[in-house]
């Protein structure tokens, strides 16, 4: 089945080119059907490889250039359950958003489908690549497609969001390229396995540490970790909703996947002695991100912005999972990634339904209007609870594994961070849902602050009728998220796959010598299922938080005011950061990089 591997990338690319060649000859419905079929094909192929590679990963040498004496001559694609799984997720979300877009846009430009297909292909290329420069090229391709899709509506704020996104992420890409240069200068190799082998297990010197710092920063900029997150809310708020599904559902998380892949193939050896420091630094970054994102999420009333900040918070949780550097943590993070991606995709699609029908996504002004959309309301309720970690959704399983791993490393406080992140983001979504679909909470007149920004509707006029193609995709995504949580033994299977993922000698052997020693089996010291108690607790807290937010005005006036006064400094600081000025964002990017470097130096000294 090996020959099918490149099709995952070549098919959507070819599809995009075909759509452009035949753009005048194709009626729009054909273009839709064609794009949906192609994206669906990616999902099916990805799923196929997910099952196929469960035992042994697959290495595909493009152009047939197999390595010689351990020196990679060509470019390798590496298919294991992780890369295939994420490719499946990309295909699924792509299919869902293209089906949704079918009846969503009144008149969509001819370029939309072609751009979406290139975007999908680029993301798949990024996650399959086993070569560090190919990673960079597909990172750039994915970014360029994302910039264009962000600015697709070409109104002022869309262009603004596009510019901020493009400038900060390009600089992130330059950082990655600098890191690649350093590694290439040291090892003379571009293949991940070969670099890892050349660096060996030796102690890390300045060059390796700086290379890791630069590559991590570049990918952090993509995965929107604080303080590199500024672009994300701006871009998500303005990008067309079907595009946001892919942005939040998988693009942001791909940055973290990239770090994990590069770390465990290249840096794991030289960093063996520094593991404690790596863990501390990444845990701090993840915690700050998870909490800041959660806070900001609760403060938003523009629904797409709210969802964007919740993505930031969850990216922080994912980083915590990876930062534990334990198989259980990574397994948890990978399940969490998929679960969150599906749920978040569904939520963005629901926001799209609102925007389609009412030409508005402001929580306050939509108050009560959603009563006509019971289906959408139910989906939002389920998805909100899934974000908060209600059983049986996949998010809970991932979270439970991460918590378990953290306890193993005596990081008990991680549970509290995860709990807060779930409660804050779930609570914010439920609050918005309660207000929009049930009409609870304060009316627009009672709300002190004005709307954050006006969004240009993506449809010509408000719609009375809604086509089934718009409700089915989010419902399907939520159902998938629940299925993941219910899948038997998923935790164990993920851990078995992680055992290979973490084993760099197995990766290198498979890539460079064509055979791999079996990875060391992982001793399952603890349970690897969902922790139902925690899930119910965090879901209940999220509901309570949402109700509190909605009915805060019923509290005695003094209490309400006191809470507001307490929060004001934090709100001021957090909002002040988001100046929207591209120069500021670049300054923050540089300060963040330096801070990470400084934090690293301090931790290395202390630990």
């Amino acid at each position: 089945m090996e020959p099918l591997v490149p099709l995952l990338i070549a098919l959507p690319l070819l599809g995009a080119a075909l759509l452009m060649v035949l753009q005048t000859a194709f009626p729009r419905s054909w273009a839709d059907g064609f794009a949906i079929t192609t994206a669906g094909g990616v999902a099916v192929l990805g799923g196929f490889f997910l099952l196929e590679t469960a035992d042994t990963p697959l290495v595909y040498w493009l152009g047939g250039w197999t390595p010689r004496d351990g020196i990679a001559v060509g470019i390798a694609l590496f298919v294991d359950p992780f890369s295939a799984g994420i490719a499946t997720l990309i295909g699924l979300l792509g299919t869902a958003s293209l089906i949704f877009a079918w009846r969503y846009f009144d008149s969509v430009g001819r370029m939309f489908h072609a751009l979406m297909l290139v975007f999908i292909a680029a993301m798949v290329g990024f996650c399959l690549s086993g070569d560090i420069f190919t990673l960079f090229v597909f990172f750039e391709l994915m970014s360029v497609a994302a910039y264009v899709l962000t600015g697709y509506k070409t109104e002022e704020s869309a262009l603004d969001g596009c510019l901020n996104f493009a400038v900060t992420n390009s600089i992130g890409a330059f950082f990655i390229l600098y890191g690649i240069c350093l590694l290439y200068g040291r090892t003379g190799a571009l293949n991940l396995a070969q670099i890892g082998r050349a660096l060996g297990g030796g102690p890390a010197d300045g060059l390796i540490m700086i290379a890791l710092l630069l590559i991590a920063t570049g990918l952090f900029a993509k995965s929107a970790l604080v303080p590199f997150h500024f672009w994300l809310a701006d871009a998500h708020a303005v990008a067309p909703t079907p595009v946001c599904v892919l942005f939040s559902g998988v693009m942001v998380e791909l940055g973290l996947y990239g770090i994990a892949r590069i770390y465990w193939t290249v840096f794991d050896g030289p960093m063996t002695g520094e593991q404690a420091a790596v863990r501390t630094v990444l845990m701090i970054a993840g915690t700050v991100t998870a909490l800041t994102g959660g806070m900001m999420c609760l403060l938003q009333r523009h629904v797409k912005r709210l969802l964007a900040f919740s993505t930031i918070s969850h990216a922080g949780v994912l980083l915590i999972g990876l930062a534990l550097l334990s198989p259980q943590g990574s397994a948890g993070a990978s399940i969490y990634l998929v679960g969150h991606g599906l749920v978040k995709g569904a939520l963005f699609l629901c926001a799209g339904i609102l925007l389609h029908r009412y030409r508005d996504v402001d929580e306050i002004s939509l108050r009560g209007k959603g009563r006509e959309l019971p289906m959408t309301g139910v989906i939002v309720l389920l998805a909100g609870l899934a974000l908060a970690g209600l059983p049986p959704f996949g998010t809970l399983l991932g979270k439970s594994l991460i918590e378990e791993a953290a306890r193993g490393h005596h990081y008990g406080w991680v549970s509290a961070v995860l709990f807060l992140s779930s409660a804050l983001t779930g609570g914010a979504v439920l609050r918005a849902g309660g207000r929009i679909f049930l009409g609870w909470g304060r009316t627009a007149e009672e709300e002190a602050s004005g709307p954050t920004e006006q969004e240009k509707p993506e449809t010509k006029e408000a719609r009375r009728r809604m086509h089934w193609t718009m409700v089915a995709p989010p419902a399907m995504l939520v159902a998938f998220a629940a299925l993941i949580g219910l899948a038997p033994n998923l935790g164990e299977q993920a851990m078995a796959a992680v055992a290979r993922f973490h084993d760099r000698s197995s990766y290198a052997g498979l890539t460079l010598d064509g055979r791999a020693p079996a990875p060391a089996p992982i001793l399952l010291s603890s349970r690897s299922g969902s922790n139902i108690g925690t899930g119910l607790l965090s879901a209940a807290t999220a509901v309570a938080l949402a109700l509190f937010e909605l009915f805060r005005n019923r509290l005695p006036n003094r209490v309400d005011k006191g809470i507001r006064r307490m929060l004001r400094p934090a709100v001021f600081v957090l909002n002040g950061w988001h100046s929207g000025h591209v120069g500021d964002y670049v300054v923050w990017l540089m300060i963040g990089t330096t801070l990470l470097g400084a934090l690293w130096l301090v931790t290395v000294q202390l630990i």
Binding site: L14, A72, G185, G188, D584, M590
Partner: protein
């Protein structure tokens, strides 16, 4: 942030970042003493294996052709992006300002004399991509510049006739698509994606590289069409009446 404070913070953070970067780069192998194994393997094997003499071309179009595929599609996306940003707004008004370019006779004469030469030069650079410096990208860009030269000396009409949008766009997409198709062709015969499928010819002849020659051509078509479109979008935008706001 105020302008002043941003300047100070930018200066501070750039300096700190600079320290970190320098701390890394001074540990690279000395300039001029690069040891790496990858290049030695290629320098030693590529001429015999691939029958081309320009090794960077062999790397770009064969050993690491997949990177170049990504790069082609980056241009493809840029062209689509410009179309999204400019054209879909332009649809509404067909009014155009007349060309504002005032060209002197001297430029016109010189330009006319240069056109033939640049076309030939561009084609030569594309076709000899596998043998001498240059290739589809550089030559394609030179060919696109020729079209621009025609704009300079003959004005809009000639330019518009040459860069008829639908056709050039199809050409551009076809170039990118051909790259993928050439890659896929080998799959049908049981080979790998982007593997060479043609007999490799005699060394130092134009088509000696087999597939390299074809991919190089596809790249040339894609790049020249893409840049003609990029220029065309900007030029057309510059002639749009300024009443939009």
């Amino acid at each position: 942030m105020t302008i002043r404070s941003r300047q100070i913070m930018a200066l501070g953070s750039t300096a700190a970042l600079g320290l970190l970067l320098v701390w890394g780069v001074i540990r690279l192998p000395d300039f001029g003493a690069y040891p790496g194994p990858y290049s030695d393997v290629l320098n030693a094997a590529a001429v015999a294996e691939r029958h081309v003499t320009n090794i960077p071309s062999a790397v770009n179009f064969d050993y690491r052709a997949f990177d170049t595929l990504g790069e082609e599609f980056m241009l493809f996306v840029a062209v689509a992006g410009l179309a999204v940003l400019f054209r879909e707004q332009r649809g509404r008004s067909n009014r155009k300002n007349p060309s504002v370019v005032q060209v002197s006779e001297a430029v016109r004469w010189m330009g006319s004399g240069l056109i033939g030469f640049t076309v030939l030069f561009g084609m030569m650079i594309v076709l000899h991509g596998s043998l001498t410096p240059g290739g589809g990208f550089q030559g394609g860009l030179i060919l696109a510049m020729t079209v621009l030269l025609i704009y300079l000396i003959r004005g809009d009409e000639a330019f518009e006739r040459l860069s008829r949008r639908a056709f050039v766009e199809a050409l551009e997409a076809a170039g990118a698509g051909a790259y993928v198709l050439i890659g896929l062709a080998m799959l049908t015969t049981g080979g790998m994606f982007l593997e060479n499928l043609l007999p490799i010819g005699r060394l130092r002849e134009l088509d000696s590289g087999g597939t390299i020659f074809l991919i190089n051509l596809a790249t040339g078509v894609e790049v020249s069409a893409a840049f003609v479109l990029l220029f065309a979008e900007f030029l057309e935008e510059s002639r749009k009446p300024s009443s939009e706001r």
